[in-house]
Symmetry: C2
Subunit: 257 residues, 2 copies
């Protein structure tokens, strides 16, 4: 399969990017001091800080750079009040300075694939042909599920057959797979967003206990949009963390093989 | 519904956790210098660094603290070679010092729910009753899908009916929802892992182009396990980053409402 060459060959590019020295202990503080904060005090998050955190989130790794994420930042007090209700009026939502709905889109890859090709063109001759081929040929093949998902089962059959003989990526082969795909990337950015808030001295709580149907209606989301989580953000109140962090034995989760 | 009180009331707990001062610019360096690195040099990642990164990942926020994640860290050269094949022998996999398979589990919540209750008991009288109720009553109701998923459609019907009148969480109401649920949390930790590697001076590439069927077989994963991504890690080679980072207009993704 010609397309696998796109993966297996290292292109001949004269690009280099240096890395800075980083104080790892500062990063460690971000991770260890991040807790799910369930009560916030009245401190507002400056608009510039919130914008910075969201912009940092957009630098997260994402699938094929197709950026299938969206972040709905409630500014209207009416919408915020309704969103709090959708979140069952949990204290984290009720007391949050800001509420951000993280949304995964399964349909924006087409547009974003075209944007990638435009950017390549703008970069000029430095972009090798396999990069163009990736977005022109492979992306539609991999992410397209056809009208009403009809292409999915065909792809699945081909993939299963091919997979008998040689390693073959299996997903996404259905609408359900696409939802997993877009959710995964959106969660990567959601984590960056929460860490960025902590680095800026603010806190967050990732909420999954919300009414996704009502949230979709409130945000007027299209049918290919999935609400991944609502991030409540603000400054922790003294009683904002409910107890010491609980994690089970690492050996349950880190498996050396 | 009694169970919603668990969400809506702030418990009376005398617990407080201070936050440290953090140099936000150090965090910014982690985010901005993280790139998907596709060629690594021969530098090994010290075992202690890799362990630290994985342990930091386990501090990520996760759904109801049910920690449905697993990280398979390839030590055996034979398994690593096979895993590289499963990843289509992409340069990032081929040249990686370490390969970590991030796995989402939809079935470990039962065991972990019991572990939560045990931990509460060990903490003694400070843990309020709603916390016990949450894991004893609400968690089985929310995450249990019944034998062969039979409970799912019933729950869905109840939830739709209830949702006509009052905000009601809708998911997870199926095996597919559980897969999304576990994947989401695992992705949060995967992002922390990649950022921790960067903070330690190492690099990563999140791979989705792999044969999930072969990987599951290789890792001897049970049926409730989903391979979320393979993280290739190491030190970037001079030609490891294929070009300048491309992100589209923020306004496509950050929506003020």
């Amino acid at each position: 399969m010609e397309s696998t060459k796109i993966f297996s060959e290292v292109p001949n590019i004269q690009y280099q990017e240096q890395t800075p020295e980083i104080l790892v202990e500062e990063f460690r503080k971000v991770i260890t001091s991040r807790r799910s904060v369930r009560v916030f005090d009245a401190t507002p998050i400056p608009e510039a800080v919130m914008t910075d955190c969201l912009e940092l989130a957009l630098l997260s790794p994402n699938s094929s750079n197709l950026q299938p994420w969206e972040f709905y930042w409630t500014h209207s007090p009416e919408k915020k009040a309704k969103l709090i209700e959708c979140c069952l009026s949990q204290p984290a939502a009720r007391t949050a300075a800001e509420l951000i709905v993280c949304v995964a889109r399964t349909g924006t890859w087409k547009q974003n694939s075209r944007l990638m090709i435009e950017r390549f063109k703008a970069q000029g001759s430095e972009v090798p042909k396999p990069a163009y081929d990736y977005y022109r040929k492979l992306v539609p093949l991999v992410y397209g599920q056809g009208p009403l998902g009809a292409w999915g089962p065909v792809k699945k059959a081909v993939v299963i057959l091919r997979g008998l003989f040689t390693p073959t990526p299996r997903e996404p082969a259905s609408g359900a797979d696409m939802r997993v795909w877009a959710t995964k990337t959106t969660a990567l950015a959601a984590e960056t967003l929460m860490l960025a808030l902590r680095a800026h001295g603010f806190d967050s709580c990732a909420l999954e206990g919300f009414d996704s149907v009502r949230v979709k209606k409130l945000l007027e989301l299209p049918s290919d949009a999935y609400t991944v989580m609502v991030i409540a953000a603000g400054k922790r109140a003294p009683n904002g963390v409910y107890g010491p962090r609980i994690r089970f034995e690492s050996s349950l989760f880190i498996k050396k093989i």
